[in-house]
């Protein structure tokens, strides 16, 4: 499913232009538009949610104050936000990286599950080794497991022309079935009665938290992965080639780019990020593989990628923002007697508003460059 040639084509043109022409003056109105519209959209989503709260006879300002307090109000609550943001950053990359090539992959959940299972298997195989070796093996296992899973999606697209959105969606369900099959079969720990799970990773081999905070190293993985993705896609020739393919695949073929190889590599990298999310879930949170690996973070990750326009740095911001929203679920329940689903509703409204705002670019006279 080819996406519209958007800013990619523009940046290709801009790159060739800067080679010959002197650098143009800073176009502050365009830059301002890029900040004002998303911020306006978030505010718009919040206003909609505020109206909803008002009709549910809760004071919207009190609700927002509580959400802010629970998400960003103190170091303690911010830690909670960061813990939730880490998997979102990693799963978002699974859509974002292939997205730059022009593929719409929604197999985040499958990559996460595949990575989690592979990481558990790797961790169990070397569980008597030292802590850091176990974590390294789990990380490699997770990256390879998730990476291969999404590479298969790319391969089906390239070899057989199978629509990548549908195949990755199907592979989510297949991954979950394989997970259930394994944790009810060969990997099953007989002592896990109510919730069939794999054998556990020993407690002392679990991924530690950073310093004396509650935040585990998954956050570092998330931020580093996003930064690497940003550098790779925006500042290397590899990224330039991928973006060129996403902008105009025919032109890229004419230019002799290895279109398929680059596509498979981006799929592998995206899947490896999702697999790392699964590994973090096992190594830092549950200590074993079970169905909580498929916790629905995948779909939120897809939205994070789209909202951040498939770019690494904005993903960190958007994921932190969404992590904050997710972290405030408990307080809405305790202080306002609002059900958990309120957060889902809030999240949906904000995302709908942001997606709507995509259609507003270039519509306001104020943001048009003067004299251009």
């Amino acid at each position: 499913m080819p996406t519209a040639p958007d800013a990619n084509t523009v940046s290709v043109a801009a790159a060739t232009a800067t080679a010959t022409a002197p650098r143009p003056a800073w176009r502050w109105r365009t830059s301002l538009e890029g900040v004002a519209i998303p911020v306006g959209a978030v505010v718009g989503g919040c206003v909609l949610f505020g109206i909803f709260c008002f009709f549910q006879s809760r004071n919207p300002f009190a609700v927002f104050a509580a959400i802010y307090k629970a998400a960003f109000g103190s170091w303690y609550s911010f830690q909670n936000t960061l813990v939730r943001a880490a998997p979102l950053m990693l799963t978002a990359l699974c859509t974002a990286l292939p997205g730059r090539w022009g593929l719409v992959v929604i197999g985040n959940e499958g990559g996460r599950v595949g990575g989690g299972v592979a990481a558990t298997a790797a961790g169990l195989a070397v569980q008597s080794a030292s802590l850091w070796f176990v974590i390294l093996c789990m990380l490699l296992g997770g990256m390879v497991g998730g990476g291969l899973w999404i590479t298969l999606v790319g391969l089906l697209y390239y070899k057989r022309g199978v629509n990548e959105t549908i195949s990755s969606l199907l592979m989510n369900y297949i991954a979950i079935a394989v997970l259930n099959h394994l944790v009810n079969g060969v990997m099953r720990d007989p002592s896990s009665l109510n919730k069939p799970s794999s054998y556990p990773i020993p407690d002392e081999k679990m991924m530690p938290t950073m310093g004396n905070s509650n935040v585990h190293y998954g956050l570092v993985f998330g931020i580093v992965a996003c930064l690497l993705a940003w550098v790779l896609m925006e500042h290397t020739t590899f990224g330039f080639k991928v973006r060129m393919i996403g902008g105009n695949i025919r032109a890229a073929r004419m230019a002799g780019l290895p279109v398929a190889t680059l596509g498979l590599i981006t799929c592998f990298l995206g899947g490896a990020a999702a697999g790392t999310a699964g590994m973090v879930e096992v190594a830092a949170v549950h200590g074993r593989a079970n169905e909580s690996l498929a916790a629905g973070y995948g779909y939120a990750g897809i939205l994070v990628a789209f909202v951040a326009r498939h770019r690494g740095l904005p993903i960190i911001l958007v994921a932190t923002f969404l992590g904050g929203i997710l972290a405030s679920g408990g307080i809405l329940q305790r202080e306002f007697q609002l059900p958990d689903a309120t957060i889902l509703l809030f999240q949906g409204l904000v995302f709908l508003s942001i997606l709507f705002s995509d259609s507003l670019y270039g519509r306001f006279k104020f943001f048009k460059e003067r004299g251009a």
Binding site: L156, Y158, L303, G348
Partner: protein
């Protein structure tokens, strides 16, 4: 063999009954998705629509005491969510996959929020149509109690086939889906056609949800849907954008889902979880075998997945 232990026949009858029961929501959402995709847009948010339909059908049936009013409410709720999706994707530069996922989150949020008070009470169920009353074997009589919404779905499938093939409106929908520019040139409003298709498609998806909460499994819970709404997109490809083939595909999916539990019922539990994934594996296999990099699939609307 006595009437109450029918052995292996039990598996066959069980699978058949579960095929129709489990296939009905697939049928309704896939018909809705088929209508939507024929007009050139994708609606991944049907999962949210399905949940919202299930919740509103149950809540309204409980309040009014009539399951039929519940079905109407489900259609209305689905249509309302469809309006939001249709409005969003009619705007320029809005990606319909992303919009669908946002609608999925928003729709399930709404359903869980407003459905919270209805998890406990029990609502009146849709009356089954008993095709097996002639039989003295209770298993057969039970198995042939079929949801009225299944017959509704079958009627819609054949009706939609007729609509696409022979009516002027049907041709307009196909024109919009195949070549919006050409449709616009002969004076068809692309925006309005797509809007109507998405809204009607979502209403059908909502009715599919009503089958879940008012017939089988027959109660409102947050785990009521097992991804039927998302699968609709794959099903429509499987059925080659043909409404009558949606019917056969839905039955196949319903049947494939029933194999695992039925085998388990007679004591075979090997590969239980893998059997559950058989519809997905089957779809993927069919796509791998029939797709080609050289041409698009037969029946695929030309403008599907493009930003026109």
């Amino acid at each position: 063999m006595n009437a109450h232990s029918i052995g292996w026949w039990g598996v066959v009858i069980g699978v058949l009954a579960a095929t129709v029961r489990g296939g009905t929501p697939f049928l309704l959402v896939s018909l809705g998705e088929c209508l939507t995709e024929k007009s050139g847009k994708i609606n991944l948010g049907l999962e949210g629509v399905l949940l919202m339909g299930a919740m509103s059908a149950y809540a309204v049936a409980y309040r009014t005491g009539s399951p039929w009013v519940g079905v109407a409410a489900a259609a209305a709720a689905g249509g309302t969510l469809g309006c939001v999706h249709a409005f969003l994707v009619s705007r320029p530069k809005v990606n319909d996959i992303a919009a669908g996922i946002a609608m999925l989150i928003f729709g399930s949020g709404c359903a869980f929020y407003f459905g919270k008070p209805y998890i406990q009470p029990s609502a009146p169920q849709l009356p089954p149509i008993g095709l097996g009353n002639w039989s003295s074997v209770p298993q057969i009589a039970d198995a042939l109690k079929i949801s009225p919404l299944f017959f509704f779905g079958v009627a819609v499938a054949f009706g939609m086939q007729w609509f696409f093939r022979t009516t002027r409106w049907g041709m307009q929908v196909r024109a919009v889906g195949d070549s919006p520019a050409a449709a616009r040139a002969v004076g068809i409003s692309v925006t309005r056609t797509r809007f109507l298709c998405i809204v009607c498609g979502s209403a059908l998806g909502g009715i599919g949800g009503a089958h879940l909460s008012l017939f089988y499994p027959g109660a409102w819970t947050e785990a009521i849907s097992s991804g039927q709404g998302l699968m609709a997109v794959a099903l429509v490809i499987f059925a080659r954008w043909n409404p009558v083939q949606c019917l056969w595909a839905s039955l196949l999916f319903g049947g494939a889902q029933a194999i695992g539990p039925s085998l388990q019922a007679v004591g075979i539990s090997t590969g239980y979880y893998l059997w559950n994934a058989s519809p997905y594996i089957l779809t993927l296999l069919v796509m791998v075998l029939t797709c080609s990099t050289k041409r698009t699939l037969v029946g695929a609307p030309g403008a599907l997945g493009t930003s026109s």
